[in-house]
Symmetry: C2
C-alpha cells in the first residue's frame, strides 16, 4: 500500500501531462464533406445563405391571408377564391390577394402576399374555384420563415466540432461540399523486446508475437488518429533511441511499449529522457494494471511509455492516448464513451491509494445488467477479449461489494 501512496493517480498524471503540452497548431486538410464522418472541423464555418432559403409550408394546404380566416368555423366558414397551385421545386409565381388562396404542398414555397397556410384537413374545396376555410389561422402559422433555421453569416459550426451524420447533413444543406478538417494526428507506435516477433512469423521457443503495435493501432484509429508502426526494436538503448528519434520527427505522439522486465522499462525511461526537454514528467502511476507507465514531453512532443504486457498497454493506452488525441485534434467537447450501469456480481478487493480497472462481462439479469469480473492475469490478452468493459475502483475505496451498482465503461 505505501508503494501506491507514493505514486500519483491517473487523473493527476494526465493533468500534469496535458498541462505541460505546448499549444498545438493542428495541420489542416480539405476533404469532401461526404467522407467527413468522424473528422474534426478545422475552422469556424458561417452560413453562406439562409436556411430555409425561402419561406416554406410545413403542411399540405392553402396559402392565404390569415386575416381572411379570422372567426371562421365549420358553421360559418370563410370563402376564398382558389387562384392556383404552387408546384414543388419552383418559384411561387402567384401573388395572393385578400380573399384568395393557392394550393401549396409541404415544403413548397409560400407565394407572395400569403402570410399563413390553412391545413387541407381544415378546408373543403367547392368545385375548382373556391374553398371553404373551417378554422382560423394566425399570421405565420404553418410557415417556416426564410432563415428560421440559419441566418446568412451565422456561425453554424465552430472549429473543433466533431462531424456526426447531422453535421454532414447540415453542411450539405448549405452547399458546403468540401470543408477544412484537422488532419489525423500521427501516432508513432514502437514495440520493444528481444522476444517479440511480427505476427506473421512463427515463434521459436521463447518468442512471442507482437500484440501491442496492432491493438494500439486499432485504439488510435478509434480515437481519430493515424497509427504509424515503427516496428519491433530489440532491448538495446541505441536502437530504441534511433527508432524513437525517427518517430519524433514524423509524429504528433510517440508511444513506446516497453519490454516487460524491470531493466527494459528502465531503459525506456532513459531513452525517453534523451529525446528532449522537459523529458519524463511521470514515471509510475497508482493504477492496476499499468503502474510502470511513463508520461513525457520531449521538445514539445508528447511521449507515452506503456508497460509491455498487452492488457496493461491497452487499459493504460485508452486512459492516456484518447485524451491526448482529443487535445491534438482540438476537439471542443470531450467524446463520451458508451457505458451502462450494472450490478456487481461479486466482491472485489482493492488497495487504498490505487485505482483499479477490472475487466467485466455484462450478463442480462432479472433487473438489468449484471457485471461479472473476468478474472485473469494482466498478461493475458484474451481476458480483454472476454470482457465487455471495465469498472473503475477509485483510489479511496478498499474494494466494491457484491450487489453494488457500478458503472461499466464499454471497451
Amino acid at each position: 500500500m505505501p508503494e501506491f501512496l507514493r505514486l500519483i493517480t491517473p487523473e493527476e498524471a494526465l493533468q500534469r501531462w496535458l498541462k505541460a503540452l505546448p499549444p498545438i497548431e493542428p495541420r489542416v486538410e480539405e476533404i469532401a464533406t461526404a467522407s467527413a464522418l468522424g473528422r474534426v472541423l478545422a475552422q469556424d464555418l458561417s452560413a453562406p445563405e439562409p436556411l430555409p432559403p425561402f419561406p416554406r409550408s410545413t403542411v399540405d394546404g392553402y396559402a392565404v391571408h390569415a386575416a381572411d380566416t379570422f372567426g371562421a368555423s365549420a358553421s360559418l366558414p370563410a370563402y376564398l377564391r382558389l387562384v392556383g397551385e404552387v408546384p414543388m421545386g419552383a418559384a411561387a409565381s402567384i401573388h395572393i390577394q385578400p380573399g384568395q388562396a393557392a394550393i401549396v404542398h409541404t415544403g413548397g414555397m409560400i407565394p407572395q402576399g400569403a402570410d399563413a397556410v390553412v391545413m387541407i384537413e381544415d378546408t373543403q374545396q367547392m368545385g375548382t374555384a373556391e374553398i371553404e376555410v373551417l378554422k382560423p389561422v394566425a399570421v405565420g402559422q404553418n410557415i417556416l420563415a426564410q432563415g428560421e433555421d440559419v441566418q446568412p453569416g451565422q456561425v453554424v459550426l465552430k472549429a473543433g466540432s466533431l462531424l456526426r451524420p447531422q453535421e454532414i447533413g447540415g453542411l450539405m444543406a448549405l452547399g458546403l461540399t468540401t470543408i477544412a478538417v484537422v488532419s489525423k494526428p500521427r501516432v508513432g507506435l514502437i514495440s520493444t523486446g528481444d522476444e517479440v516477433i511480427p505476427p506473421a512469423e512463427k515463434p521459436r521457443p521463447g518468442q512471442v508475437r507482437d500484440v501491442n503495435s496492432h491493438a494500439l493501432a486499432a485504439l488510435v484509429q478509434r480515437g481519430g488518429g493515424e497509427p504509424l508502426l515503427y516496428g519491433i526494436i530489440p532491448d538495446d538503448p541505441q536502437s530504441l533511441y534511433e527508432a524513437a528519434r525517427r518517430a519524433q520527427g514524423e509524429c504528433d505522439l510517440v508511444v513506446i511499449t516497453a519490454g516487460s522486465s524491470v531493466s527494459a522499462r528502465d531503459m525506456t525511461a532513459q531513452v525517453v529522457e534523451r529525446l528532449g526537454k522537459p523529458g519524463v514528467l511521470v514515471h509510475g502511476i497508482a493504477i492496476r494494471p499499468g503502474k510502470p507507465t511513463i508520461l513525457a514531453i520531449a521538445d514539445e512532443l508528447p511521449v507515452l511509455g506503456l508497460p509491455g504486457n498487452p492488457v496493461s498497454a491497452l487499459v493504460v493506452g485508452r486512459l492516456f492516448i484518447l485524451p491526448i488525441l482529443q487535445r491534438l485534434l482540438g476537439l471542443r467537447r470531450p467524446i463520451l464513451h458508451p457505458g451502462v450501469s450494472a450490478t456487481l456480481s461479486t466482491n472485489l478487493a482493492s488497495e487504498t491509494g490505487r485505482e483499479d480497472y477490472v475487466p467485466v462481462r455484462l450478463v442480462q439479469g432479472d433487473h438489468g445488467w449484471q457485471a461479472e469480473p473476468v478474472f485473469g492475469r494482466s498478461n493475458l490478452i484474451f481476458t480483454l477479449v472476454r470482457a465487455d468493459g471495465w469498472i473503475r475502483i477509485p483510489p479511496e475505496a478498499t474494494g466494491l461489494g457484491d450487489g453494488e451498482q457500478v458503472w461499466v465503461t464499454l471497451f
Copy 2:
C-alpha cells in the same frame, strides 16, 4: 391522441419487421486483421496453438524448484546454486536440478525442471554462484502456464463477434493475420422530391439541397454498412419504382426518403408495395418525429420508407437502420450506444400513446449533466446539429417534469 393510439409503437414496429425478415446468409470476405477494426467475424475461430506458447515468468527473478524454498525466511534463507540465465527471446536450454536456480526475466521462458519463480526482491545474490531465497514460493507461483490464456483448438472468437482493439491484438497473438469477416451490408439510399437538388448545385427559388442521402449515408457508415446513393428521384411513381428495383437488385436494405407531402408519401407506399411480397408491414408509427414511417419486406429484402424532413429521417433512421444493420451483420450482441444520465431543465409535454424523441443539449451543471431541450421544428436540420443527444418520452407518459432524471442517448 386517438390518432396515435391507432398506431403501433416503434418497438412493436421494429419487432414486426425483424420477425418478417428471412434468415440471412451473410456475404463473407477475407481481409487483413490489421484493418479489421469494427468489422464482424464471419466464422468461429479456433486457436491454432496455445497462448502463451510456452511457460513464462510473470516477474524478474529466479526459476527454482518450489520445494527448495519451503520454510525460507530472512533469518533462515534457502541457499541455491546459480546455474545460468534464460535469455529473452530464446529457448531455456538449462535444466534446473534441485538446489539450483537460474535468472529469468518477466516474459522469459521457464527452464525445464523449475516449477516456480522467486521474485528478485525476495532474494539476495551472493557472489556470482549462489543466491539466498528469503521467502518461500508455491508450485506454479509467478508462472504463466503454457495455454493458460488459450488452449489449442479452443474457439477463441465466435462468428458474429465485433472486432475491437483487443480482438485485433488477440488474433495477432495467435498469428491469425488474415480473417474472414462479414461484408458490409449494402444500403441503397433513394431521395425523392421534385424540389430536391444535389448539394453541389445552387438552388433556384423553391428548390432545396438533398440533405437526407448524405446524413443517412453517414449514419449507415457508422452502423457498419456501406451506403450506395441512388440519386434524387422526382415525385413520379414509375421513376421511383425503377430506381427502387435497381437498388433492390444490388442492396441488402433499401431506404427511400419520401417527398414531404401526403401525396408523395402515399406514392412511396404504393411503389414499395409493388416491389414484392409480403410488402408493407407497417405504415405509420406512434412516434414524434417520424409518424409516416414505412416498414416493408419485398422479396426477402427489407425496405424502409422515411419521412422526407431531415430530422425525422435521421431520428427514425437511427431507430430502424441500426438494428437491421446489426441483424444483417449477424452481430452476436447488440451494440450499446453511448449515453449519460442528466437532469431535465424544463417541463416537456407529450401525448399519451406516442413516443417522443426530444433533442437536447448537455450542459455541465453543479450536480452533473443538465439536459436542455433544443426547441425547433422537426424540419430544421440544425436543431440536431445543436443537440448532443435525445431523450425518449415513453408512450405511457404524458410528459416529463423539470428536474426529472433522464437518460440522454448521444447521437
